[in-house]
Every structure is written in C-alpha cells, then in structure tokens.
C-alpha cells in the first residue's frame, strides 16, 4: 500500500514536469495559474491549521510582487533572485506585523489581516515616485523572456516547494503543536507549547510563500499596479479552492486548485464578467453543506461504505 502511494506521487511528479512537452502554450498557461493558486491556497491552509483564519493572502502576495519587480527595476537584480527577495520582504513585514496582531485571536486577527491588502494598496498608490502610484510600474522584459515552459517550471517548483513545506508541517513535531493549538489553545498552552512563537513562525513562513508566489507572478507579467497586484482574486480564489478540496490537509487544496483552476478558465470564457460571483456562491454553499470539502466527503463516504461492508 505504501509503495503504491510513492509510485502515484512519482507519476504525478513526472507528469507535472513533462507537461510542457505534450501540451500547447494555452493549457500550459492554465496550469501555471493552477500552480500559482495552489501555492497560495496551501499557504492559507497552513495558517488555518494553526487555528487562525488569515485574510492577508492577497496582501503578502502583492507585497512580494512589488518587491520583486522594484528590486529588478531599480537595483537590476536578477528576476529569479528578486522573487526570493520578495519572499524575504513579505516574511519580514509578516514578522513585524505578526508581532503585534498575533496577540489577537479569532475574529480580531481575521479582520485585521483583511485590512492588510487595503493598507498595502493605499501605500503603493501614494508612494508615487517609488512605486509608480496608481499606474504601477512596468519592466522592459518579463522573466525568461516570456518563455511559457520555463515560467511553468518555475511556478511548478514553487508549488512543489509549498507542498513539501506543508507536508513537513504535517509530519514533524510542529504538527502536534499546531493541531493542539487549533483544538484547544489553553490546553496547548498548559502543555508547554509557546503558542505565540509557533503562530509567529507559521505566519512568517506562509507569508514568505505568498511573497514568493507574488514575486513570480509579477515577474511573469513584468507589471505591478495597486489594484491588480493586491486584487482580492488572490484571496478569494485560494480560499474557494481550499474549501472545495477540503481544508486542514495538503491534498485538499491540491485537488481544489486543480478542479477550480481548470473550471475557472471555462467559466471565464462562458461568463466574462460574473465568474467571481460563482466563487462567492461556492464558498457559501460549501461552508453550509460540505464544510470538509470533497476530500472530507469522500472520506466519510468511504468510511460509511467500509463500515457497511463489515456489518453486511
């Protein structure tokens, strides 16, 4: 059973890696988007596993995007390197902010992070000379000169790295601390878990991932502007994807982002103006009817099925 699982993973990896050789640039672009949202969704879910709902995804995504683009523009930094600088800057900001706002829990933390993207937008819009104000900034060239295969591999490896971090969180000692915190903070605290330290750690790591994804996205298009870079798409879509797939796992967001990512392309073609509405409806319906997502649904189905098999 265990050996078979590794074979599946290997097949998926090979398929992901070799995809550019078999499909054209348009499906490749779709998959690039899927991996972008997959990494965002996973990072959002990682924070959720620690019991804190963060709406800061689009904020740190945009921050990484701006940092990557501006360092390339002003300092002539290599685009690939600048992506990581974007991640580091997001992590730094998350550290300073987290030091303050992680004293809050639940709704207080959630709504403060909801404000972040808006705050960053205002800052980006008002630092005219540095960020280009409302018009944003454009790079003369995009990363890898716009080669879709290389861009695909870049986002694929970022998503892969995120999956790895997510699995590390699930398999190492951290997981016990995180799960304990989510289930009952006071018990966790009395078992000697330094909650604040762990939450800050998770917040910084996930923000770094969001920054890196944002950096890659900005370099991919060679363009940042306050409204598009901090767009609530980068918050709404990952959340909808994680919920669809199933939260509190690595596999859930992966499944969700692949399903919704491909579906959204279709929706965009069918309903060019209304596709965001559908994400809102997906979120509401899943929260109400299927709070553990497709994965949770399948699990409970299998559980019921196997139980029925035993008795019958």
């Amino acid at each position: 059973m265990k050996g078979r699982k590794w074979i599946y993973i290997l097949i998926a990896l090979m398929a992901g890696f070799l995809l550019p050789f078999y499909v054209g640039p348009y499906p490749l672009g779709i998959m690039t988007n899927v991996f972008t949202y997959m990494a965002l969704g996973l990072s959002w879910d990682m924070m959720l596993r620690a019991g804190q709902l963060s709406f800061g995804t689009s904020g740190f995504f945009g921050l990484g995007g701006y940092t990557a683009l501006l360092t390339t523009l002003y300092l002539g930094l290599d685009p690939l390197l600048s992506i990581f600088v974007g991640g580091i800057f997001s992590a730094l900001v998350a550290f300073v902010l987290g030091y303050i706002i992680l004293r809050l829990r639940g709704i207080y933390f959630a709504i403060t992070t909801l404000a972040l993207a808006g705050v960053f937008t205002v800052i980006a819009r008002n630092l005219h000379d540095f960020t280009g104000g409302p018009e944003g900034k454009i790079l003369p060239t995009t990363i890898f000169d716009g080669n879709p295969t290389y861009i695909y591999w870049l986002t694929f490896s970022i998503a892969l790295g995120t999956i790895l971090v997510s699995e590390l969180f699930q398999r190492t000692k951290i997981r016990f601390a995180i799960t304990a915190m989510r289930n009952d903070e006071i018990t966790a605290q009395s078992s000697g878990i330094d909650i604040f330290k762990y939450l800050l750690f998770v917040f910084v790591i996930t923000s770094a991932i969001q920054g890196i994804v944002g950096g890659a996205y900005a370099q991919q298009y060679g363009f940042v502007s306050p409204e598009s870079t901090f767009s609530s798409n980068f918050l709404l879509l990952p959340i909808a994807m994680c919920l669809t797939g199933g939260i509190y796992s690595t596999l859930g967001p992966i499944i969700g982002s692949i399903i919704l990512g491909i579906l959204s392309e279709y929706l965009k073609l069918r309903f060019p103006y209304g596709h965001l509405l559908i994400y809102g409806i997906i979120i509401v319906v899943i929260v109400l009817l299927m709070p553990r997502g497709i994965l949770g649904f399948l699990k409970s189905f299998r559980y019921r099925f196997s139980k029925g098999g035993e008795t019958g």
Partner: protein
Amino acid sequence: MKDDPRKKITLMVTLIILIILFVLKPYAIIYGVQRGSLYALVAIPLALTLGIVGILNLAHGDFLTLGAYLSYWFFTSLGLDPTVSIVLIVPLMFAIGAGLYKLTISRVLKAPLLNQLLLTFGLAMIIEESINLIFTSRPRNIFVNYASSSVRIGKLQFGVYEFTYTLAAVGVLLFLLYFLKKTKLGKAAFAVGQNPRGARIIGINVEMIYLLIFSMSVGMVGIASALILPRMSIFPLVGAPFTLKSFCLAAMAGLGNLKGILWSGLILGIGEAVIQSIEGYSGWADIVFFGVLIVVIITRSYRGSYS
C-alpha cells in the same frame, strides 16, 4: 467610573486637541464630525450583531451598498426621494436580513468561528459581484437640490446635509439604548447577548432574538444607505471599507459599548479629515483606521483586556 481621574485627563486632553484643531483647521473638524457620524451610524448595527448574536458579519458594509442601490433604484424608477424612501428601505432590508439569517447564518451559529467568517465573507462577495453584474461598476449618483444646501457662519461655509448622519446616528443610538434597557424584548436580547444558555433556561426564545437582532441591524444599515445616496457616488465596492472601519470602531469602543462607538467614530472621522486636509498627503487618509486599530490592539494588549 465617573470619578476616574484618568478618564477626566483623557477628556481634557481630547478637548484641548479639538479646540486647537478647530482654530487651525476648522473645516477638518466639521467634515470630520460629519464623516465620523456616518461611520458610527454604520458601525452601531455591526456592534449590535457582534455583541448579541456573536457573529462578525463581514458582509456588513456590502449591505450598505445593497441598500444604497435599492434606494437608487427607487429614485430612478419610482422617482422616490432617498430620504423618503427610508421608510421602504428599512423594512425591505429587514426582510433581506431575516431571509439571509434563516437561509445561511442560523446554520453556522454553532459551527466553528472559521465557518462563520468564511460564510459572511462569501456573502460579501456574492453581494458585491451581483451588484457589479446588474449595475456594472460605473459610479452612480443622483441629484436632489437640498443635498447641496450650505450654511455660512462667519467666514466658514459648509454643507449641512451631512449633519443628517449625525442626527441619524444619535437617533439610532438613543433608540437602541431605550430598546435594550426599557423594553421587554430588548431586555431579553440584552440577556441573550450576555449569556445565551442562561437566557434559554429562563425561557427566552434565543433563536427568535438572534433573528430579530440580525434583521434589525441590517435594517438599520438601510438608514445609512438611503442617507448617503444624495451626497456620494455609489459603486459596487462603496460599502466594503465600512466593514473594516465599523469593526475598528467596535474594537475601539470595546464590546457592548454602543455609546463609545459614537465617540470612536468622531475620533476616526476627524483624524481622517485632518490627514485629508494636509496637502499632498490626502491619499493617506484611508489607512488612518488601520493605524488606530493597531494602536488600540497594542494598548489593550498591554492592559491585558484581550488575551
């Protein structure tokens, strides 16, 4: 509490700052009071739901948008004056709130916090995007001549229409205080807010109170919706920032302190107006609330009110 010397000092300092500001930037104070009253008017219903139903409604600001578009629709299709249409908007919004409560909110009351937040977040997106689909993102505004009436005192000339926000905020506040302290239903609601289980034991229909309070707060947002229409362009995202600002005010005042929201609103409004009046920095006014929120968090966490 009344003899608390720290409170007296704070009050004195605030008054002195206000007087200095009034001499330096009289317009900032006037506009700040107008704007701040609007914030308070929108924030009071949010705090009511938060305090009694225990739900943070992330779609709160979008209800403001919804009401404003309803009022706009009444104006353009029936020729109804926005201030008159309040009598229609409030019951309509009340009904919408009741429907949404029955369909969605009531199902997540016992669910984890996460589900409640995600649900209202999803609702917010649905409202924003539906309005975007129906009315497009083009800003709409209407003209009624009384909205631009102004008054001159000495050298100062300013619009008076916005003071209806102040009147409405004070009116809503007084109504709620009366409702919660004096009427039987209000007292029951107050009890539910303090201890839902205890309230259920003594025979209060908790579900009914939740439904009433949630619908009432959506209805009250309708007042603000109709009032802003004559003076503001409306677009699908016009109300969204109000959610965050309302929450900021609720956090400033502290849970259950409705009166405090009015004062917090005025402070935030004046703060924003002062920043806006400084040349070259007007764009920064939108993040005043975030700075205030962070300061509130830090001071509260040092005093240990939150943990």
